[in-house]
């Protein structure tokens, strides 16, 4: 009855129903400072009617008038990547605590979608933007458009500082070193390595950390036991890659007692590959991952890995944009924030077998 054509209850509806003007109703319902001057009886009356009618202020009209949306866009390149989830959680926490509304979007690894969502975020006048760049993430020139409309932006999972964008990243070199040191401490001398795809910025420094630490400890790196993942956009491909590369390792007939995989999914693939060949982890061969995502924790044997402080990274990203929003005027210079990785020892690593197992030869059946 009092419903308008739009189907939504508006201030006018309440004004009519209560006998007061739209202004008064607005002042009361939005709890403006002026509402202290409004008679108490009026206030309660208006509030009662609003609740009864199921009034919810129109965010569009409100934002239009107030010229602020209190909204921060979160654009994930691939939300199905378990890697994204804790980051997203951290971001949400930070954004929410700052009184902003997170506007979550998932580009599903599709460049086209990514751009289209970037448009939407611009059109929705988000006060800030955070990009989660998991796995292989293609550049987009649209990011320039973002800055043209001076929306503060932070990216996590990729270093775009030289593009003028604040970035948050784990210290990959330290992570690679941590992993290598762990295997060295266990006594491994023959380590197979699976490097990340060349397109990913994490690959190189992680590899550097591995190489340097191996050199320090006097561990030779056999290049015939060094492999590289192909750069496919689908993160689940990491698993398949791990399976395939494990087979190649075994086929190479070079001895190794541990595998250092680029990330957890790849490591899980390696476990599968080794297991299919009759090898047991960690009894016959140790396997390490990187990231510490859910599947690694619930697999058996539980995966030893290098944890990225994903939640903290998300939180940091949120605080970074919020800060940028607050001193809106002066654009601060982009910074790179590196976070500390952490070794998580679980079940997939152990000392090398006493008698050096020669992989490629089935150990049972």
């Amino acid at each position: 009855m009092s419903q308008r054509k739009s189907g939504h209850v508006t201030l006018l509806d309440i004004a009519r129903a209560s006998g007061f003007s739209v202004s008064t109703v607005s002042i009361v319902l939005s709890e403006a400072p002026l509402s202290q001057n409004v008679a108490v009886t009026t206030r309660t009356h208006i509030r009662a009617i609003a609740k009864q009618l199921g009034y919810h202020p129109d965010a569009y009209a409100r934002s239009l008038r107030r010229r602020t949306t209190q909204t921060i866009g979160i654009l994930a390149f691939d939300l199905s990547d378990p890697f994204c989830v804790p980051i997203m959680r951290g971001i949400q926490e930070g954004v929410h605590d700052g009184g902003y509304l997170p506007l979550l979007m998932d580009a599903q690894t599709e460049r086209k979608l990514f751009d289209s969502y970037l448009h939407m975020i611009l059109e929705r006048r988000a006060d800030g933007l955070i990009v989660i760049a998991s796995w292989v993430f293609e550049e987009t020139n649209l990011l320039g458009d973002i800055r043209k409309n001076n929306v503060p932006i932070v990216i996590v999972g990729r270093d775009l500082v030289d593009r003028g964008i604040s970035s948050i990243l784990v210290d990959n070199e330290a992570g690679g070193a941590l992993a290598t040191r762990h295997l060295a401490d266990l006594g491994h001398r023959h380590i197979a390595v699976i490097r990340g795809p060349q397109e990913m910025c994490d690959s190189e420094p992680r590899w550097a950390g591995i190489r340097k630490t191996a050199a320090q400890r006097g561990i030779p790196i056999d290049e015939r036991l060094t492999f590289t993942l192909p750069g496919i956009a689908d993160p689940a491909s990491g698993f398949e890659g791990g399976v395939r590369l494990a087979q190649q390792m075994l086929a190479s007939r070079r001895p190794f007692t541990a595998v250092l995989a680029f990330d957890d999914l790849t490591a899980l693939g390696v476990v599968r590959g080794l297991s299919d060949a009759g090898l047991r982890v960690p009894h016959d061969c140790s396997v390490m991952g990187f990231d510490d995502v859910l599947p690694a924790a619930v697999a058996t044997p539980a995966m030893t890995t290098i944890r990225q402080p994903l939640r903290e990274m998300g939180l940091e990203a949120a605080q970074r944009v919020l800060h940028a929003i607050r001193n809106n005027g002066k654009a601060e210079k982009p910074r790179l924030h590196q976070t500390d990785p952490e070794l998580v020892v679980r079940q997939s690593t152990a000392s090398p077998p006493s008698t050096a197992v020669k992989p490629g030869r089935r150990s049972r059946t």
Copy 2:
């Protein structure tokens, strides 16, 4: 220079820069039917300036005027549940194809956040709403408010038809039957069962499917080998529950050759629990999950499970709301849509050991 105080480029800016009126600019840039009447030179001129200035129409002003937001809210109770991801993907696909923008929100298993986001969705005037109710999901009376503002709503993962809400759900009874049949076909006669928490609507019918099929096949269900997961909101708790219950199974000293777990995470927990006790899966004992989420697929041995057509369910949900939006006037009556589960045979199930292993006794070490 031509930037307004808002920091965003507006139609007025372009009008001034081009020498045409706001109306003309609007007509051109929004590609209204009238734009055919606009001179070609004018069109290209205006478009050029718009691009140069980096113009993006203000979604708020536009929606306000057009009285439609072309937006569908997606409210997930817990996005970190891998169960949600394919559903969300399906929804996104359907929503996007229908020309709508998905507005994704993640309640992080918090009732308070859920309600708060529900508010936001209402305030943002979403044209429709889809709720993903993974795991234990508490009711909320706010759903009534949604209908009061006649926003079409569909829920997936929970049956709320008697509350007047269209629901999409896997056929749990069929799924339970499918799983039981698979184990029976393999020759298992002693099956331990882990039932879902009582708070979940999936638990009962799934259990019914198991019981009936077991009876059909003449397989006794030992109630001392039947367990129930506690109803905790955190889905990762399923894994812990599985570990603990596996220990209880073994401690009970009752013989069993297979475990039918409520879902994949629980099943992975069971594998861990059995493995810690020295039992091998599937050699000593088979384990089955339910849902078919990512961690089940990448574990070793790969988990045999019952797949829910999650993506299809999401798609269906999207189409259901879109349909409801289209014939807005007449509210159609809520329907329950049950989807067909599918058996996915992997590595975690096999025939029972020839010599009936008595669990509770370590088979090695």
